[in-house]
Point group: C2
Chain length 395, copies 2
């Protein structure tokens, strides 16, 4: 039997407690021994809650209990959670977390700390919620030279964009609907401005290319500027507007990471990822292309991923998983503005004016023009055209 | 440095050799040490081939070489390949294979043998080609009680069905096209009669539910009976005809495994899996539903999965992965004919006659009727209706 603890009894933490309890027999079989929940750390009281007797307000109870081998960090943020995780790893405890902010900003440091203390630091739940994607990327596809990872990484924005298309709604109305449904927070900035997707891109990039990428190294544009005209222009070309996070190897061998609303053609599997779901495409020189699809958030799906990591840690209590990456290298990063991509521009200009400035193009609805040849965003911005929207096309 | 060998220098074996060579530096980083290809076993000569110097005709060279720790079995079939794999595992060598026939018919026995000798027997490539699905099912989703696995598991039949829909072609014409494109073999029986999908269902079922399922325990129907009218009836209900392999837990707690052409609604991600691609849906009590999509066959994609297993084996040379299942238990299996599912029937009968026999229904094109309530196949066959086609609907 191995004893475990949960830090934080919010949505994810209570989901982890629920899965550990209701699937106890399955977990014992998969982990090779019983997994017993000993503590839940939270500052709050939960009178009458079935897990009330596991509650502690004192982190030291967990840190100094030699029976506790694996801890699920479900507090979130990169302040108190970071301090706790560092102490746990240094104390020789394995940590599983859903905390994308902490991994995106301190992943390299925490993996080094885990390595120094011969424990595992696992974070499958930090990207794609319950979808298995980080472990497949790191292990199943380890034989590949990865060329790109691209995904719909934020369910809130995907819900809003799906609503805008299906109900012919403006952004503000779709956001209100998402808030009413509980899919968007009252302060939706982290989602709609792309920060959440940006953090996930950092983690995917580090795993795909072996070098840490910090959020400020990712060109990030959210969906607040998406208009009904964008949606209309996309539809006229059998495309949908989707917020994609991407990290790819440029022809010059650099890494370029960015978050931006894209036009996604019907021929891509990502076109069919709607509502609150996430989908992540991985491209490699042996696999070609694979996609991972599922619920990108939610109590039990996220808990599924955290508990999967806890089982992995129990199975690898003594031998670490081979999971790490190098410190960030700004010189190895390419500027998104210089990356040549297929683009759609929306402009008041005529087809002839667009073609004179940017080469051959096809006119779409709502003032959109699909450029035939890849160009850089910088070239578009310096074209002298009056631009209403500049959207890369996912290919 | 660890030495490895490949059995069989056909499509998959040569792909494994290629990936081991061209991605050598990446593999060394992921495996923690260099992976060096020492032998390739084949009965044939390959004069002038860049791997010619690795070739041996003598299996004993590999079996008795203590330097060889990991072997990729790429011969196929369950005769000579089985004999070799048993000897390798008994000699303490780790084995990775793409051989679905061998795993479906001898998986339990081989996993027990691997356990007895403290080595790994891995077979990610046996289902879904290059798509990471078995390891995510076994490890990432280990915290779930799995309720169903369902997938488009055979690229040849999916290509044929896609052609039938998009080109309005009959089965025979679409098969000829698939043969001309190299997607179907001259003798396409194993694909079009469902045997290939059946073997993959056996493997998925064993991993999902922990008990071996043999091919003769899987109700298997291929696509040879699919007509243009089936395709038309499906399209009229916003569905596509897809050959699905499924294994699920019945309400009575038994396991039911089957391969059959289904009507798949546009609301399912599997609807969007076309041409030679595969897609596998996994449902569990925490994740809800996830899907894994990608190339289900092909030289390099399959090699991607085999090499991923080889890296995993190198990382776990001393500590095994927790991968096993129990011997088959026929008493735990439910008969597909008794499983209540949503169905479409095609018949010469009228709506009134269909409803009198099978309850409320909606008329589709081409004599199709979508039954409102789940019924068993047995009930449909005993309904007295003149049946042209009986197709479960995937929900």
């Amino acid at each position: 039997m191995v004893q475990v603890a949960i830090l934080g009894f919010g949505t994810v933490g209570s989901g982890v407690a629920e899965v550990l309890t209701k699937n106890r027999e399955i977990l014992a079989r998969k982990a090779g021994q019983e997994i017993s929940l000993k503590y839940i750390l939270d500052t709050r009281e939960f009178p009458g809650n079935p897990f009330e007797e596991k509650l502690t307000h004192n982190f030291e109870d967990i840190l100094h209990d030699p029976e506790v081998k694996v801890v699920a960090e479900c507090i979130g943020g990169a302040t108190i959670a970071l301090e706790f995780v560092k102490k746990l790893l240094a104390a020789g405890k394995h940590v599983a977390t859903s905390n994308k902010e902490m991994v995106a900003t301190h992943g390299h440091e925490l993996l080094e700390l885990a390595k120094a203390h011969n424990v595992n630091f696992l974070f499958e739940a930090s990207v794609g919620g319950g979808i298995p994607v980080l472990r497949p990327l790191a292990f199943d596809l380890a034989g590949n030279e990865i060329t790109e990872v691209a995904g719909i990484l934020n369910g809130t924005t995907n819900y809003i964009l799906t609503e805008m298309l299906e109900k012919d709604a403006a952004f503000d109305a779709a956001l209100k609907e998402a808030q009413a449904m509980g899919y968007a927070e009252r302060n939706p900035a982290a989602d709609v401005e792309g920060l959440d997707a940006c953090r996930k891109v950092c983690i995917l990039s580090a795993l795909a290319f072996g070098t840490h990428v910090y959020p400020d190294q990712v060109s990030t544009e959210g969906i607040t500027s998406i208009s009904a005209e964008d949606v209309e222009a996309a539809a006229s070309a059998h495309m949908k507007v989707k917020l994609l996070g991407r990290t790819l190897r440029t022809p010059a061998g650099k890494v370029c990471s960015f978050v931006a609303p894209h036009f996604v053609p019907v021929t891509s599997q990502l076109y069919h990822v709607d509502s609150v779901f996430n989908g992540i495409v991985v491209r490699g020189n042996a696999i070609g292309e694979a996609m991972f699809y599922g619920p990108g958030a939610g109590k039990l799906p996220t808990a599924s991923a955290v508990v999967g990591d806890m089982i992995d840690a129990v199975w690898h209590l003594k031998e670490r998983r081979n999971l790490d990456w190098q410190e960030a290298d700004p010189t190895a990063m390419a500027d998104f503005a210089d990356l040549a991509l297929p683009y759609v521009v929306r402009t008041t200009a005529s087809l002839a004016e667009v073609e004179a400035a940017l080469g051959e193009a096809t006119a779409l609805a709502a003032g959109g023009y699909l450029l035939k040849n890849p160009v850089s965003r910088r070239a578009i911005e310096e074209s002298g055209l009056t631009l209403l929207a500049v959207r890369p096309v996912f290919q």
